[in-house]
Amino acid sequence: MKYVDAGYVICLSVLFVYSVSLWWRRRRLARAVATSDVSSERGRDREREG
């Protein structure tokens, strides 16, 4: 039974950790995109003024 338990624990843990890491990466990048949108907008304004 210990092999069965180990198999379930390892597989489900890896899938869980990978899912959380994907969700976290997407959230972080979504924030970065929002920040980047603002800064590139400012850059364009500066360029127009220049």
Binding site: M1, Y3, V4, A6, G7, Y8, I10, C11, L12, V14, L15, Y18, S19, L22, W23, R25, R26, L29, A30, A32, V33, S36, D37, S39, S40, G43, R44, R46, E47, R48, G50
Partner: protein, 285 residues
């Protein structure tokens, strides 16, 4: 709408996986031959199904569609990349769960038989694909390279599938996707296994969708950073041209920024050259 569908898929994946675990560990009876070890088989074949057929199959299909001129789009490249990364995780889990089943059944953690070796080779090939994606290059060049690499790596998938028929191996022959397509399991075991396939397919769909979003946002940020740095460079160039038109000799900060020659890069630097092409001066923008 897309968010709602994705959330629904995520919830369905969690519920189906939990049901598979519950049925697999507590409801289904032990096997006459394998005893409780059969419980590992409610996870191992569905994981292998996702890795080999769904993830690597989808990446090969997407790569093919990228290489075909009529359907060429970075969508397919990103989809292939997302699918390969998820597939690599599932492929590694296939090897681990198989090894945990093999140790008490065969007496060894690992043996160099055809099925195991070709599956390990598949993992190495697709890890190579992920490494290739990290090599700096123009997005289209990278996409083309990776599409070819995915198709080359996919050649190993039918070898993995038919390895138990072509060679003598410790691994048993196919129980579900066999030649006659008549599964050799029945009762609660068959339903639990089927639920395992559904559950991990849902997990795969959720993961690939989220990973695809990550790829899109990463590209978008890369493009925006490039735009910002180019805007800064142009601003520097125009300031330099107004203040010291003859004093500077480097191509970026002086009058060369407005000349017909690209200021930086060369044939091997396609993106900077293309994007740093001279802008019309004056109030045209």
């Amino acid at each position: 709408m897309r968010t709602i569908v994705l959330r629904s898929v995520g919830v369905a994946a969690i519920v189906a996986t939990a049901a598979t675990v519950w049925l697999g560990l507590w409801v289904t009876p032990p096997d006459q031959v394998q005893g409780t070890l059969v419980r590992l088989l409610y996870l191992h074949p569905p994981i292998a199904w996702v890795a080999l057929y769904l993830a690597f199959g989808l990446s090969a299909l997407a790569s093919l569609l990228y290489l075909w001129r009529r359907t060429r789009s970075l969508f397919w490249d990103r989809l292939a990349a997302a699918s390969v990364e998820v597939g690599v995780v599932f492929n590694a889990l296939t090897l681990v769960s198989g090894s945990l089943w093999g140790r008490p059944t065969w007496g060894v953690w690992w043996t160099w038989t055809a099925r195991l070796t070709s599956t390990a080779l598949l993992l190495v090939l697709f890890v190579g694909y992920l490494a290739l994606r990290r090599v700096p290059a123009d997005p289209e060049v990278r996409a083309k390279r990776c599409a070819v690499a995915a198709l080359v790596a996919f050649v190993d998938v039918p070898i993995v599938h038919f390895s138990v028929d072509w060679w003598q191996t410790l691994h048993q022959k196919a129980s579900v996707l066999n030649a006659t397509l008549s599964p050799t399991i029945h009762g609660s075991m068959a339903w639990t296994l089927l639920l395992g396939f559904v559950a991990l397919t849902l997990v795969f769909v959720w993961m690939v969708t989220v990973r695809y979003d990550v790829e899109v946002m990463r590209d978008r940020i890369g493009n925006q950073e490039l735009e910002v740095s180019l805007a800064e460079r142009r601003a520097e160039g125009s300031t330099g041209a107004v203040n010291t038109p003859e004093s500077s000799s480097d191509g970026i900060a002086s009058g060369e920024a407005g000349s017909a020659e690209p200021p930086v890069g060369g044939p091997g630097h396609s993106t900077p050259v293309r994007l740093a092409a001279p802008e019309p001066t004056g109030g045209g923008r």
